[in-house]
């Protein structure tokens, strides 16, 4: 039993404010014998149920209405007279932008009406009245209030303990529109290789597929005795739309807890190697590694290669030292290295950089669950934390959503999709891929929603 006594945390407000220093590791690797824990389930990786968006969502525009704008020199009276001369039964002007909404003549299709209008030299633009739909918004109470990382509407982010941050609208990973397309397949599993997971946390209890494996204590109970792993797991795939707490990136995907650090937040390469191989063998689809070490190690690289070749997407944090990219994030061929940005899409000053950085994700004041034992009874088990550790699970969640939608994709393809659909947030200073944010801050909508061929 590893759950420690309740932490004595004085004056913890309703929400913990935690600043991550990052999980350090040492190079003094030691070998110990491990045994495989119970498998949570067995399934061939290629026989997953396919979740696809509805391919047909009805007409794309109003069947009896078009929008028209005249050239600036055309008088309103003339414009309205002209529209009525076409036989349109209703003409309504939207004055602020000089656009007319007109009902098409009976018997005329939208395409015919547009073709007719576009032949008129006085008309600048004629367009269908396209349908819109509400973006999927979860009912988790902290989503709107604190999770700028998923949907940033601008304004002041008011964090307990008197921290107020001016945020920029749109500096987020575009989660809301992406959830219209995919919320994740419950058979898609994200392994969280970290300090463990609080498996009784309301945000995670229904999401963990098994008690996991603890390589730090060599047992089959990956309960979190630190806090880091619980926070990371929640960012990636907290129980969402459950009227409680926060939203996770991958609503419906599951979590496999794998404990590879001790209660002090440090571990050994051997534990990580064991954890990667174990998670891959258990059928994990994505492995998140919000940790790293300074030393290149061929055994660690081999473990990453092993998982990669078994169809697992590996995501790792670049590190928080404003230095070089840590390992295993630096294994460019097998691992996506994730840097951190903030609520204004600015790169975080602590985020490690280098040619191995692939993408960035929000990593400053990110809200996530913390172990229930770590907070006093009156407080809610959630906290804010900063670091590339918080950035990486956003990317792991996106990888899980991509695989939920297209399980036939290879890890290399998923990595490329995530990279090539990113927003180049620092293009004014470093256009194109750079060593600070890689291809840019991830954009879930572009990675998941259909591209419309015009």
């Amino acid at each position: 039993m590893k759950v420690p006594a309740k932490m004595s945390v004085k004056a913890i407000p309703a929400l913990l404010v935690l600043l991550v220093v990052g999980l350090g590791t040492t190079d003094a690797g030691w070998v110990k014998q491990t045994k495989l824990g119970d498998r949570f389930f067995q399934r061939p990786a290629r026989t997953l149920r396919i979740e696809r968006p509805a391919l047909r969502r009805g007409p794309r525009y109003a069947p009896d209405r078009v929008l028209v704008r005249f050239k600036p020199d055309v008088a309103d009276a003339y414009a309205e007279g002209l529209l009525r001369s076409y036989g349109f039964s209703a003409v309504r002007k939207i004055p602020r932008i000089g656009v007319y909404s007109v009902r098409t003549s009976p018997g005329s299709s939208v395409a015919e009406t547009l073709a007719m209008l576009r032949r008129n030299g006085d008309i600048e633009l004629a367009r269908p009245d396209y349908r819109t739909r509400l973006a999927d918004t979860p009912n988790d109470p902290f989503f709107t209030r604190y999770q700028y990382n998923l949907r940033n509407r601008g304004g002041v982010l008011d964090i307990p303990q008197g921290i107020q941050l001016q945020t920029t609208a749109g500096a987020d990973i575009k989660a809301s529109p992406a959830w219209d397309v995919a919320k994740g397949n419950p058979e898609t599993v994200i392994a969280i290789l970290d300090s463990g997971v609080d498996m009784t946390h309301p945000e995670l209890a229904a999401k963990v597929v098994s008690a996991g494996r603890d390589f730090a204590n060599d047992d089959d109970d990956a309960t979190d005795d630190h806090w880091h792993g619980t926070h990371v797991a929640g960012i990636a795939a907290a129980d969402t739309d459950n009227s409680e707490g926060i939203a996770g990136v991958a609503w419906n995907c599951k979590i496999l807890p794998v404990k590879v650090t001790g209660a002090d937040g440090t571990g050994f390469y051997s534990w990580i190697i064991d954890g990667i191989i174990w998670a891959a063998d258990q059928g994990a689809d994505v492995i998140n590694l919000s940790l790293g070490g300074d030393f290149d190690d061929p055994f660690l690289e081999d473990a990453c290669k092993y998982a990669f070749e078994r169809g697992v997407v590996l995501v790792a944090s670049a590190g928080n030292d404003a230095g070089s990219v840590l390992y295993p994030a630096a294994y460019d061929s097998y691992v996506l290295a994730v840097a951190a940005t903030d609520y204004n899409d600015e790169p975080a000053d602590f985020s490690n950089s280098g040619p191995q950085v692939d993408v960035a994700a929000p990593g400053i004041y990110i809200m996530g669950p913390v172990p229930q034992w770590s907070v006093e009874e009156a407080n809610l088990p959630y906290g804010f934390a900063s670091g590339t550790s918080q950035a990486a699970p956003h990317v792991a969640g996106l990888a899980a959503l991509i695989l939920s939608l297209k399980p036939e994709l290879k890890p290399a393809d998923v990595m490329k999709i995530i990279c090539y659909t990113a927003d180049d947030v620092n293009k004014s200073t470093w256009p194109g891929r750079d060593d600070i944010v890689g291809y840019g801050r991830i954009n879930m909508e572009r990675a998941l929603a259909p591209y419309i061929l015009k």
């Binding site: 696809r52 968006p53 509805a54 391919l55 047909r56 969502r57 794309r60 939608l405 297209k406 036939e408 994709l409 393809d413 490329k416 999709i417 990279c419 090539y420 659909t421 990113a422 180049d424 194109g432 891929r433 291809y439 840019g440 572009r446 990675a447 998941l448 929603a449 259909p450 591209y451 419309i452 061929l453 015009k454």
Partner: protein, 258 residues
């Protein structure tokens, strides 16, 4: 490249077949009683469920073709046509490509070849019943779209082919020598494929959507109107019902009798 060669070969083969058929016509001059040639315009829509899809998408085709009708007497007519097609695949989604693509572009151009055979089955008073069979095939031209807004350069390249075979009875009322209205009921078999290739730098995807034989029925009203001794207008309009709606078809042709 091989695909393109294959498509071109099929097109050339059909072209040769058409030319040979036309070349044989003079040889069978003694059998050809009437010869008419002209232009034909045709439109049809089909609401289809592509293989592997859960929802339907609407295909609309507009054809403009040159047409020659060979009348062999006793109500037997062979019609051959060749021309251009514009096919719209609005709403068709390519969901297994790395980045899902949804088609909302302008129609794809293609070459169309067709043959139609009409034979008299029964004549009674002012009514006659004919059997009508028709085959049309469209060979789409390749089209490329740039993929914009990504961190790297990209493009999508698409190409589509379709064919339709239809057959059924035609009940005509011999109203006068100048105008013959008719009612036609056809079974229509449709096959199509759309090959879409996606490239984003070193990320490649290829998806081919197929419909291997969609069967539906159409009902159409038409009429052949003799405008003069040599000019005839042939027009037809109808619908193709399916669960939840109807598709439309229409055609009009102007033929000159030699």
């Amino acid at each position: 490249m091989r695909q393109r060669s294959g498509g071109a070969w099929r097109l050339v083969s059909l072209g040769i077949a058409l030319v040979l058929a036309a070349a044989h016509a003079p040889a069978a001059e003694s059998k050809v009683k009437t010869l008419m040639a002209g232009l034909n315009f045709e439109y049809f829509s089909r609401t289809l469920v592509w293989d592997g899809d859960t929802g339907s998408a609407r295909l609309q085709a507009t054809l403009v073709s040159a047409r020659t009708d060979f009348g062999f007497g006793k109500g037997l007519t062979l019609s051959l046509s060749a021309g251009l097609s514009l096919t719209d695949f609005e709403g068709l989604a390519f969901g297994t490509l790395p980045i899902t693509l949804e088609y909302d572009a302008s129609p794809i151009k293609g070459l169309v070849l067709g043959a139609e055979l009409e034979a008299l089955l029964l004549k009674s008073g002012d009514f006659e019943i004919k059997a009508d069979g028709r085959f049309v095939s469209s060979f789409g031209m390749s089209k490329t779209w740039p993929l914009e807004g990504f961190a790297v350069e990209g493009q999508a390249k698409g190409r589509s082919n379709w064919m339709e075979a239809s057959a059924g009875p035609r009940l005509a009322y011999l109203l006068s020598s100048a105008f013959v209205p008719y009612l036609e009921v056809n079974a229509r078999w449709f096959r199509a494929d759309f090959r879409m290739e996606e490239t984003l730098e070193d990320l490649h995807g290829l998806e081919t959507k197929r419909i291997n034989g969609d069967l539906s029925f159409s009902v159409a009203l038409g009429g052949d109107a003799r405008v003069s001794d040599r000019l005839t207008i042939k027009a037809k309009a109808g619908f193709i019902p399916y669960a939840g709606g109807v598709d439309a078809l229409a055609s009009v042709g102007l033929l000159y009798k030699f």
